[in-house]
């Protein structure tokens, strides 16, 4: 499984969210692959799941890809709850 972390510029919040996601995946013993990109690049990338902050994902959610969003990108409890259904 490939998870694409998306943010506005591709170098700030996506990096921080990627860290939190990797922590959560480790906890869940998942071998999902994680990478990050800015909103513009992400639109032309393929992944099994696109994850980002709510405002970002709203810009990406056109029905052509699987998306999930979190309110607080530093909250591992929220990230875990959001990710778990997709990992099964």
């Amino acid at each position: 499984m490939k998870i694409m972390i998306v943010c506005g510029n591709g170098l700030g919040s996506s990096l921080m969210l990627e860290m939190a996601v990797k922590d959560v995946l480790k906890e869940l013993k998942s071998d999902a692959q994680v990478s990050h990109a800015d909103l513009f690049t992400a639109k032309s990338e393929s992944a099994d799941l696109f994850l980002g902050a709510r405002e970002i994902i709203d810009n990406l959610d056109d029905g052509s890809r699987k998306v999930a969003s979190v309110k607080n990108i530093m909250d591992k409890v929220e990230i875990k709850a959001v990710l778990e259904p997709f990992l099964k």
Binding site: C7, G8, N9, G10, L11, G12, S13, L15, M16, M19, A20, D38, L39, A53, E55, I56, D58, N59, K71, N72, I73, M74, D75, K76
Partner: protein, 149 residues
Amino acid sequence: MLTEILPAYSIRFADGFADWRDAVRVSCQPLLERGAIEAGYIDAIIENVEKIGPYLVISPDVAIPHARPEAGARAIAMALLKTTTPVRFSDDPDHHARLLFAFSATDNHSHQRALRQLARLIMDEARFAQLQAATTAEAILELIASQPE
């Protein structure tokens, strides 16, 4: 390391701002003074928020004003503006923040260690509470300096 790009004089305090745009400008002022960014970099941050939304508020009370390297970043640098009343990036309380970590990066990689350290500090509840309560640059620097990656 975070301490290398966030010197004491880049940590500043303010009461509050009626307009989030002014808060972003003031948060970037130390970067401008250090020559780490061009003035256009600040405009790029504001334009991004107006276009995409207040995504720069990454978690409760924390915003990270920044733009793409090509928007006018000359060096890796960070500044912290801590306000007494929250800066409102929208009417939604999820978009209110009192800690504004403005930063500039010259490529996609070189700032990563510092940002990772910042993320660890935010995810550590006890240390983050200390950061929220800190009232001096010295206290903040002490917290940052002792933050493991």
